[in-house]
Symmetry: C2
Subunit: 290 residues, 2 copies
């Protein structure tokens, strides 16, 4: 049950792409807001979102879009968010909550917190949902079901808005986690950005060297490289916004691979077995975690 | 329809583990052989396979097991196969076909071809099916459905036995590929052994350094590390039997990761985007290949 204070009267989605569109579809399907307003850089994309049933109204400007909303979600590329916040911040209600769905948090939380401080409650979100396809056409109401959503509330966040935002993501099917923006970026470097780079590297290591091998692949290789099908522009942008942590995680993976390489080159069966056993035990522990 | 010459009168499975047990279950379910005989290093495991419905008879020795069989499948660890062949080769029928399910082919094909030459037809097989669980308990009749099975027939293989073996694997649901033993090992280093090592490395890079990150993982990380749940002993054995090719593929993956690292460290957005786009295009091409 949603209590009265947690009910969303008006939701604004800025950027009706895969995630923004999916949020709209999920909210409409579950009737989580009285009204959904959408804005897109091109007015056609906002209108397409309305047509698709992901929003009720298309706004001409970010400022028009946020007017009267109690929840505003920035779903545009990370590098555009600060400029957008400058354009709409004067129009925010005092009680409104602003969040974003950016895949890195340290920089954007710093910028948005400072731009919006004193006006409203800003809390960073990172719903870890996606698809190999991008854009509104790939949006779906169930995209967030079972997905982890990481919140990065400021140290002295008020309880009511934090609860309202947490409740919102949970209503979409997310499993919530909370951490600081800095730790968020370290963690996602390991569990999201690094795996994405590795998936691309696994494809590229075969491509051009031994293309025939692609005729032999099975589900294992397919599972491991699925995320390499994601949009290159977006992932390059994400990597650039988390350069330090990503670089560090790549270094550490190279160290691990050098350990494996040494065991293989030295025919160190016992050591390699111990290495793989350690991974297996940890993997089993993860599997049963949820 | 199975023609008369392709009908299996008696099938022998040596080693009723995950793969041997699954072959037995599939053959019995689909009634592909008149009789299935099983042998295991421990007689209890052979009896358990009969009890499970994966075979009709448990034999005491490899020689007893192959007597009268027109198809013999070695499903024991690769390092035990040559010794087993020595134990049973005197008992083979002239028209019988011997194959194995080993994950590497160059060494074992060399040994078995020489041990069995003149007596029978030996053709290497590698059905690329598996599970995170191992042993007879994890065996299932549908394990091979949709799996790629690679055959490595000798250059002057006779047509009839090759057709019979190909037909057998296809009856289990496999999609067949054919190549030489040497090229097989090169290809599986890239598409199977390397991905397995990378999955273990991805788990171990987090484990001990940032265990908290495991609380935040989603389906992407889970997909990419699933195969790290496989049996360490088996995978270490596989790695040891394909050391040269695996070492080379690890070196090349490290090169790829160093390229990514350089683009990230230099903030080379354009180059990283091109790198990821190349992987994405190739990944899409793979996805639609079947």
């Amino acid at each position: 049950m949603t209590s009265k204070s947690q009910r969303i009267r008006q939701l604004t989605i800025l950027g009706p792409g895969l995630l923004g569109g999916s949020i709209g579809l999920a909210v409409k399907k579950r009737k989580l807001a009285d009204k959904v307003v959408v804005w897109g850089r091109r007015i056609e994309s906002a209108r397409a979102a309305v047509k698709r049933g992901a929003a009720d109204f298309a706004a001409d400007t970010p400022a028009d879009a946020v007017r009267g909303s109690d929840l505003v979600i920035l779903c545009t590329p990370v590098e555009t968010m600060a400029q957008l916040a400058r354009e709409f911040r004067q129009k925010l209600l005092r009680e409104s909550i602003v969040t974003d769905i950016g895949s890195t948090k340290y920089d954007i939380v710093k910028h948005l917190s400072s731009l919006l401080s004193g006006r409203t409650t800003y809390i960073g979100s990172h719903p870890m949902a996606g698809s190999e396809r991008d854009g509104l056409a790939a949006a779906q109401a169930n995209l967030f079901e079972g997905a982890v959503c990481i919140l990065t509330p400021p140290p002295r966040a008020r309880t009511a808005p934090l609860k309202k935002l947490a409740n919102f993501w949970e209503s979409l099917g997310c499993r919530l986690r909370t951490t600081s923006p800095a730790e968020h970026d370290e963690i996602v470097a390991y569990i999201s950005h690094l795996p994405h780079m590795v998936a691309a590297a696994l494809v590229n290591v075969v491509h051009g060297r031994k293309d025939k091998a692609f005729d032999f692949i099975g589900n294992g290789f397919r599972d491991m490289t699925r995320i390499a099908g994601g949009p290159a522009e977006m992932w390059s942008g994400i990597a650039m916004s988390n350069r330090e942590e990503l670089r560090r995680s790549v270094d550490r993976l190279i160290e691990e691979l050098e350990t494996i390489r040494r065991h293989v080159a030295n025919a160190s069966d016992v050591e390699l077995r111990a290495y793989l056993r350690r991974a297996r035990q940890q993997r089993e522990e993860i599997q049963h975690r949820f």
